[in-house]
Symmetry: C2
Subunit: 471 residues, 2 copies
Amino acid sequence: MLRDVGRLGVLLALCAALAGCRRNAPSIDADLDAYREPAAKIVAATLGGQSALARVAALTEVAGPRPTGSPALVRAIEWARGAFVADGQENVVLEPARVPVWVRGAESAEVVAPAPRKLAVLGLGNSVPTPPEGITADVLVVGSFDDLAAHAAEARGKIVLYNRPFPSGNPGAAYGQTLPYRIAGASRAAAHGAVAALVRSLASASLGAPHTGAMKYDAGPRIPSAALSVEDADLVARLAARGPVRLHLTLQDQTLPDADSFNVLAELRGRERPDEIVVMGAHIDSWDVGQGAQDDGAGCAIVMEALATLRRLGLVPRRTIRAVLFTSEEIGVRGARAYAERHAAELPRHVGAFETDIGAGTPLGIRMVAAPEAVAEARALATLLAPIGATLVDTGFAGADIEPMQAAGVPLFGLYSDPTHYFDIHHSVADTLDKIDPAALGRNVAAMATWAFVVADRPARWAGAPPETKR
Amino acid sequence: MLRDVGRLGVLLALCAALAGCRRNAPSIDADLDAYREPAAKIVAATLGGQSALARVAALTEVAGPRPTGSPALVRAIEWARGAFVADGQENVVLEPARVPVWVRGAESAEVVAPAPRKLAVLGLGNSVPTPPEGITADVLVVGSFDDLAAHAAEARGKIVLYNRPFPSGNPGAAYGQTLPYRIAGASRAAAHGAVAALVRSLASASLGAPHTGAMKYDAGPRIPSAALSVEDADLVARLAARGPVRLHLTLQDQTLPDADSFNVLAELRGRERPDEIVVMGAHIDSWDVGQGAQDDGAGCAIVMEALATLRRLGLVPRRTIRAVLFTSEEIGVRGARAYAERHAAELPRHVGAFETDIGAGTPLGIRMVAAPEAVAEARALATLLAPIGATLVDTGFAGADIEPMQAAGVPLFGLYSDPTHYFDIHHSVADTLDKIDPAALGRNVAAMATWAFVVADRPARWAGAPPETKR
């Protein structure tokens, strides 16, 4: 019964959304006619991607890895502000956000028995530290939460290793399937008396480097948590299949008091309805290993270069396009919340929010969280990007930094770049400039600039997703 | 004139070798007829490679990385002896060799200025340590020895970084072209007053891991030397292109007194001329990072499985096949020297020496150091391996462990496995079991067993390379 009421609600919301869209939407054919030439100009202006690549290079040289609360993130924010000003953007401002500060200290993991050997380890963001002398305990290797439940009686006093392989197939889906082990593995293991939790790195390929990422505790006991490289997770599992394996884990990581940080904003003011906004977002913080070149340095470069390209081409849209480089995406998503709170009164005038946070693979299209009719119309408009092959329009997760705007009815758009190799380098020391193909980066700029311009300029606006819509 | 005399010598040696071969060689057609059935049996018996893979798995679980002088190498040697005995091999013995002991201690490299960041570093084998507090100096980035010479005046007091990319194309050739920078870079830089030397990792692909390897000093001053990851070498070069870059390098590595180690030998005694020998070799030591799964755990498994396969199939050759797992290949090549010295009187009765030390890619064929007629005849015989595609016979480097036998006129044979991905993992933390394709491993066993059997069984024997022959 409750379920039926829920369905009715969804139907009513869908009808309302569809009705709303129909009332405002002009003919998509008119849009296609209007935007074919601007789209072609944008594609021509971004070919090769060298200008965007230079931005990623500068960011990774000036700042490097830039975790929240770090001096490097301060450098990155200052660099981005300076670059927006140099590009001649309007309303370049820093908007404050209080951010969590989690600092990696000395970390190590070793097999103690059957014979000593070092393991490649990275603590997970938010993890509590081990005692200074570390934790020494036997390991319990499990393949899933069900497997853990089946061996719950053996978990007490153990270090639990979740050795769940990253599924083949779509890497984004694979990440979604394995993410719960990184996020919730520690608390789930602690509930059975485990003393620490290790997770096999969430990685689509590996040459020995562990992949970090955030974890979260529930209300239960807090135990230290870290990622092993794919190779070393396999090794520990193989050793454990032969007999007892004793590990020693040391994580001298610390959570410090929250610190001040900033979102970086810049605008291309609209020519007719400047108080209506299209956001183009990426996040300027990164993990503390590698260079954060693709996560999300590339996203920052795409956003900055897209805005610069529109300005350079004189493509001033009807509404304002606002670039937002969010802080604190990797831990806390606090920049996103700060933006949504500070601009709450303005969100009803946000006609769309774009994010790019899936690396610099060649753009395949976009993923939307919006009214069904908006998705259908966007599919028709996507042919504008046929010259670069980025015509896909799908529903699905659009981006963590824009997600808080969904409740206010803002249509969300995630640039969807080919993720085939993204999780080879994601959150690891291998997320570096050399992995970026400038030509693909340039096509991402073209896709972002075109979509943002079209959504900001077309006379009609789309409705957001019905309130009940989940990702 | 001298050159002409040298040419004459080569010609005379060639003629002698050809004459020698012609006198002894039966028709290759007869060999082909005789060995087609054994070759087919061997291929059938090794398909899938699971038995060989289990050997690599056992070695990497029981011993792990096994540098000379380590307890892990002792475990590996004991394991190998036990495995040969379990296989029912004859004359399983350990033969002593004194080996160098270089032990990695704490190592770190950081950019100090323009802004602090950690670099991924591995000290090079034989490197002297830095002072305990490390070395802090500006970096001089060069692309070649010529580049160093052109900037020699700037090298004094600097840390020299050789940032020479691994060439595309044949990875073995690329390794040969970049190896001098790893081996001799420190002494060449020290000659100009440098205080330390860094080398870009010799790697055909990288996800952030540095690749180690041996270096050597000449008679000049000894400065510490280490490898940076490909990504971090690029980063330092990019930073240096913007302005001065100050690095801090700490290597607490030590060279300890030589230690006792052992080559592991096992035989399949010949049925007619047991005092004539064909060696099948690989090296049992490895670097201290990763698992030494392909370098050269796979080689050990190929040799062991090849000998076991011949015995299991009842393929007892005319002459003796002797498996030799050499110690100390990675530093010192002392096992190779110890074997050649201990068996000096017997080397004239060595009718061939095989080595496998290029990973577990699919076998393409062999590389030979032997008389030209031997190479021509081997090309004809190689069609025996057409069913697994391993028909290539080329001249070229055959293996470091068998090289000392060349002077005694022993024909040398190197199993040539597809090197396309070998240098992705070589000497790094990524040299692990998961990178081995068991089917390709099985084909390597088939190639090794077939060649060793044919050379040990065919009535004739081949002549070695003329004494003047270089690799």
